[in-house]
Structures are given as structure tokens and as C-alpha cells.
Symmetry: C2
Subunit: 167 residues, 2 copies
DNA sequence: GTCTATAGATAGATAGAC
DNA sequence: GTCTATCTATCTATAGAC
């Protein structure tokens, strides 16, 4: 999934990568959705861990750079995006994505508080959505200046929030 | 694609919906990518038209509401997201998405200028990414308060930009 | 030029061997 | 419990009929 996205994620391929027969894979994951659910859990744990390292940033500029770094990891975006599409059609995965979203909001809350920025859920959601959007746009357009652009835009956003809080 | 997303978009289904045989569909669109490219052109034209109606909004609040309305049209997001994933793997579609991104930036520029907001490309990109992110999060989580949340967040964002410009 | 029968490949799932 | 041969469904693409 990291390489070929949703379309490339098939039982035969996964089995082959894992060194087992496709027919054996279905013993552990009887249906395709079972397998996707397991992948979703793993991917989300990974992503939240990445967000945790962002929270450690000490300045808004450093945080912006770290978030930008995550948004341009295309393999990462590819996986989450593929899973998001499954979530759109599968209630089980949707639940996992709600937990992911909540987890990110909590972590961003800590980050913003650290910078003495007003950290309501709405402000956290704002930063979250902005980051997701940049990641998706980067995946689809693959522009070379993606990371710089993301970092600059995040800096602008965090600064705006800071000024808002300063009043 | 509007209903079942990327996974449901197959030649047999499209052909059936169109009232022709699958084998006939391949006469007009020899390969799957040809078909996807045609769909991308149509979807993007549609989306830009929607953005055009947003630009007509006379107040930031009205604009926020209209953008929020677009972000929660799930069938819409489903299509664009599916195509974005194809773009990730197909250079031909990537080019189309770059044009889409540029088209949106231009239109948002007009919108922001209308509100006397500093409308650099970066500020437009900011609003674009924020909107994309909200749409994707809404697709994956399907929360009921999605539209209100989107509208509120966009209002906050536009207000922040306005204050920035007021200085 | 328009359309279809058919091929060729690959997907996901199951019944059953060990 | 672990693993596989095999079945069925479905997909994309082509060669060729009209």
C-alpha cells in the first residue's frame, strides 16, 4: 500500500511480500476488510507516533517544519488516503478514523498550549485539516516545492493563531 | 465513482450505467486510464464551477458557509479523492490536478481580494488546503456536525486573514 | 466507424488436507 | 491449529464481425 496505494493492495501481493500463500493469508484475515482493518490499526499507530514527535517541537517554526515533513511523506499519505476511502464505505474503519482524528486533536492541543496559543478544539481541528489538505494536495500534484510551501503556510497559520491569542 | 468510490469504478459498471456493453466502452476509451482521464476532466470542470459560485459570496461568513457546503458533499469528495490517488500513480492525471490546484488558487485570490484580505498565493493555498483537509476528514469520519464545524473553522480562518490584512 | 464475442489475467473466498 | 489446492467471480483488453 505504501508503494502502490489502494489499487495495488491485493491479497496476492500482500501474501507474496509476507512470504506466505494468498490462500494462507485468508486464514489469519478471512476477509479483505479484516486485513484492511489490521493495516489501519498499524498505520494509525504509526501516524500518532509521528505526531507525538511533533509535539516535542519547542518553537512554532520548528513545529511547522516538522508537520510539513509529515505532509510530504508521500508513502504515508498514500496509505492513510487509501484507508480513508475504505472508511468511507466501511463503518468499522470509520470508527478507527474517528479515533485517529480525536487522537490528533488532543496532541495538537498540547502543541498549541505550549506556544500559549488559544487551543480550543476548533483551533486544533483547524491545524489538523490544514495539514491533511496539504498532504493530499502534495500527493496529487507532486510539486517539488511542496515541503517549503507546507512549512511556510503552517508558519503563517501558527502565527495568525498566536496573534489571535495575544489579544 | 460518486457512489462507490475508486473500488467501485470498473468498466463493467460504468458501461452498464451508460447503457452499453463493457466491450463497447473500450472502443471509446481503450484503456482504463483513458476513461479515468475523461472522468477527471469532467469532475474538475464541475468542481471549478462550484468554486466559481463561492466567489460570488458577498461576505466572509457567506463564503465560509458556501465552502463548507462543498466540503461536505461526500460524493464530490469521493470522486476527487479517488482521482487524486490515480494522479499519484499516473503522471497524466497529475498534470490535470496541477491545473485544478492553480485554477482554485486564482479563484480564491479573487474571493479574498473582494474581502480586502491579503491575497498572496500562499494565503490562497492556505484556504485551499484547509478546505481539502476538511473535506477529506469529513469523508473518512462522517461526523454529523461536519458542515457546522467546517463553516465555523472557515470563518475563524477568514477572520484571522482579515485581521492580518488590517494591520 | 460502430459494436460484440471472447480471451487472458487476476481477484477474493472456501472446503478440506495435514 | 496451520496451511493449500482449487473454485468462482470479475476485471481489462483484443481480435474481429457488421
Amino acid at each position: 500500500m505504501r508503494e502502490h496505494g489502494f489499487a495495488g493492495f491485493t491479497q496476492p501481493r500482500v501474501a507474496s511480500e509476507a512470504g506466505v500463500r494468498q490462500s494462507h493469508l485468508t486464514y489469519y484475515y478471512p476477509t479483505r476488510v479484516d486485513l484492511l482493518t489490521a493495516v489501519a490499526h498499524a498505520a494509525i499507530e504509526r501516524l500518532l507516533a509521528a505526531v507525538d514527535t511533533i509535539v516535542e517541537a519547542s518553537t512554532p517554526k520548528a513545529a511547522a517544519a516538522r508537520i510539513a515533513g509529515v505532509t510530504v511523506r508521500r508513502e504515508n499519505t498514500r496509505v492513510i488516503m487509501a484507508l480513508a476511502q475504505v472508511a468511507d464505505q466501511e463503518p468499522a474503519l470509520r470508527e478507527i478514523f474517528r479515533e485517529l482524528a480525536d487522537g490528533i486533536i488532543v496532541r495538537l492541543g498540547k502543541l498549541l498550549e505550549q506556544f500559549k496559543v488559544k487551543a480550543t478544539d476548533e483551533h486544533c481541528y483547524f491545524v489538523h485539516a490544514l495539514s491533511v489538505g496539504m498532504a493530499v494536495i502534495h500527493l496529487a500534484t507532486a510539486r517539488e516545492d511542496g515541503e517549503r510551501r507546507s512549512a511556510r503556510t503552517l508558519e503563517i497559520a501558527l502565527n495568525l493563531l498566536k496573534k489571535e491569542a495575544g489579544k
